[in-house]
C-alpha cells in the first residue's frame, strides 16, 4: 500500500484508495451477508425445494419428488390433494385480504385524524402524544389476550356488555371483524406516529400563504397536506399492508390454531406444516404466501412509484 501511495500520479492514488475502500466495505458487510444467507437465504431456498416433494416433518430425508403436486393434484379416484383445491385455503386467502384491506384503510384514516389532532396546538397535547405510544408498545400477543377478554361473552366489557353475551369469536364471519378491530387499535398509533412525523416536516409558511389566499382548512388539507404527505403515507401503507398480510399471532391467540388456519394464510401454512407435519404441502403453501406478497410489493412499488432511500 505504501509503495502505491507514494507514486506521484494523483489519479492512480485516488483510485487506489477507492479500490481499497471498496475492499474494506466488502469485509465490513461480509458478516451481515453471511448471517442473512444463513437465516434467510438458505431457509427460503429449502422451503422452495421442499415444496416440490412429499415429505413428513419428522423425517425430511425420506421424501419423494412430486413436482407441483402439492399445489394441484387429483388422484385417479378424484380425491383433490393440492392445497389450491382446498376451499379452506381460499377462505383463508379471502379473510386475510379482507383483514388487510379493511384494517389498513381504517388505520390510515384514524391515524390521519389522530395525527392532525396531535399536530395542532392545544392543552394536553403532550399527554395525548404520549398516550399514542401505549397501544404500539403493547406486545401483539398481550393485546390479543386483552381483547379476547373484552370480547368474552360471560366476563368481557364488550362481549357481555355491548354485545349482550354474544360470542363474536366463535363464528368466523363475525370474528374477522372483531380481529380487525384489535389490529386497528394496536397499529393505528404506529400509523399516526409516522403521519405526525410527516406533518411536522411540512413547511409552516405554506399554510400562512394559503390562509392569506383565503383557502379553507378543508381545502388546505386536500390540496396541500395530502399531496405533500403522499411519499411518507405510501411507504407506511406498504409496510402496514405487508404486516397485515402475514398476520398470524392475533388469530392464533384469539381463535386458537385450528380456527387461525381458516382465517389467515400464515395460519393455514403453519397448520399444514407443523400441526399436520406435512413438510412438502406446508412448504408449498408458504411459497404461495411468499409469491403473493412479493407480487403485491411489486404492484405497490411500480403503481405508486414508491421510492425507498
Amino acid at each position: 500500500m505504501t509503495v502505491k501511495a507514494s507514486t506521484p500520479v494523483q489519479p492512480v492514488r485516488a483510485r487506489g484508495i477507492e479500490a481499497a475502500r471498496a475492499r474494506q466495505a466488502i469485509w465490513l458487510l461480509l458478516p451481515t451477508l453471511i448471517a442473512i444467507a444463513l437465516v434467510a437465504g438458505y431457509p427460503l431456498y429449502r422451503t422452495f425445494y421442499f415444496s416440490l416433494f412429499e415429505a413428513n416433518l419428522t423425517s425430511p430425508d425420506q421424501r419423494s419428488f412430486v413436482g407441483l403436486g402439492n399445489f394441484w393434484f387429483t388422484t385417479e379416484d378424484g380425491v383433490a390433494l393440492g392445497f389450491l383445491q382446498d376451499p379452506k385455503w381460499w377462505g383463508a386467502v379471502k379473510n386475510t385480504l379482507l383483514f388487510t384491506v379493511v384494517s389498513v384503510f381504517l388505520e390510515t384514516v384514524f391515524g390521519m385524524i389522530i395525527a392532525l389532532v396531535v399536530n395542532s396546538a392545544f392543552k394536553g397535547r403532550a399527554v395525548l402524544r404520549t398516550a399514542m405510544l401505549v397501544p404500539w408498545a403493547i406486545p401483539t400477543v398481550v393485546s390479543a389476550q386483552m381483547w379476547a377478554y373484552l370480547y368474552n361473552d360471560s366476563f368481557g366489557l364488550i362481549g357481555r356488555g355491548i354485545l349482550g353475551g354474544q360470542a363474536v369469536l366463535a363464528n368466523t364471519d363475525t370474528a374477522i371483524w372483531a380481529l380487525i378491530a384489535v389490529d386497528v387499535w394496536k397499529t393505528t398509533s404506529f400509523m399516526a406516529l409516522l403521519i405526525l412525523a410527516g406533518l411536522q416536516s411540512l413547511p409552516g409558511d405554506m399554510y400562512e400563504a394559503a390562509d392569506m389566499d383565503g383557502a379553507s382548512k378543508w381545502t388546505q388539507f386536500w390540496r396541500l397536506t395530502l399531496p405533500l404527505l403522499r411519499p411518507a403515507l405510501l411507504v407506511a401503507l406498504v409496510f402496514r399492508s405487508l404486516d397485515a398480510l402475514r398476520v398470524f399471532d392475533i388469530m392464533s391467540v384469539m381463535l386458537g390454531n385450528v380456527n387461525a388456519a381458516t382465517t389467515s394464510m400464515t395460519g393455514y401454512a403453519r397448520q399444514a406444516l407443523i400441526d399436520n407435519q406435512l413438510l412438502g404441502l406446508g412448504s408449498a403453501v408458504s411459497v404461495a404466501v411468499f409469491v403473493l406478497i412479493m407480487v403485491i410489493v411489486v404492484i405497490y412499488v411500480t403503481a405508486f412509484r414508491v421510492k425507498f432511500d
Partner: protein
Amino acid sequence: MNLKTTNPALYYLQRTAFYLLVLVIAAYLLAPFFWAVLTSLRAPGDLFLAPGDFIAAKTTFSNYTQVFSNPNFQRGLLYSVVVAVGSVLISLLLGSFAAYALGRFKFKGKTMVLYVILAVSVFPQIAVLSGLYTLINNLNLYNNPLGLILSYLIFTIPFTVWVLTSFVRDIPGELEEAALVDGASPLQTLFQVLFPVMMPALVTTGLLAFINAWNEYLFALTFTSTNRTVPVVIANYSGATQFDQPWGPIMAASIVVTVPLIILVLVFQRNIVSGLTAGAVKG
C-alpha cells in the same frame, strides 16, 4: 379574521368539539389497557360483577403473586430476556459494521445490497418456517434459546442495518476523514470515532429491535416445546381445567411483560419516533 372575536359562539363550539374529539381519542387508545390493569387487580370472583361494581371492588395483588410463582412464567421471562438481548446484541454488532460500509463507503453493488436487505425485512416469516425448522433441527437447536436467537436475526439484522445506515449517513464526514488521515483502520475508526457519536442511534435501534424480538410469536411457538418465551406462555396460559380461563392471572402476566416496554418507550419517546421514521418512512 379571528373567530374568537368575530363569532365567539362558533369559536367555543369548535373548541368544545375539538376537546371532545381529544377525549374520545384518549379513551380509545387507553381504555382497553386500563381495563386490563383493573382486571389484573381484581379477585377472580369479582369478574362477574357489573362494570360499576367491578371498578369499585377491592384491589388485590393475588393475581400477581400467582403469576410470579408460576414456574412457566418465570422461565418464560428468563428466556425472553436471553433471546431478545442475544439477538439484539448480535444484530447491533453486525449491523453497525454493515451500516458503516453502506453509509460511508462507495462500492459497486451497494444499491443491490440495500435492496436485498430491504427485501428480507418485508418477506413473510412463514416463507422460511419450514427451511428454518429443518435447519434448527439439524443444528440440534430445537427448544434451545440459541435456536430462537438465530432465527430472530432474520428480522433484527435487516432492521438494524437499515436504520443504522440512515443514521450513519447523517454523521459529518470530517470526523471519519480526520481518523483516516491519522492512519486509523476502518475498524478503529468505527469503534473509536463513530461508535461514540452513534451511541444514541445504537440505543434507539437496539430498543426497537428488542421490542420486535420481545413480541415475536410465530418462531417462538414453532421452535420450542418447553423453553418458551413470554408471549407463548401468555398465549397458552391455562387454568386448572381446559375450560377455565384464568383471566385475572392472564391480565397480570400481560401487564408484567408490557409495563417495562411502556416505561422504556416513554423514556426514549423522542428517539423512538426518530428511529421509527428512519426505519419506515425513509424506507
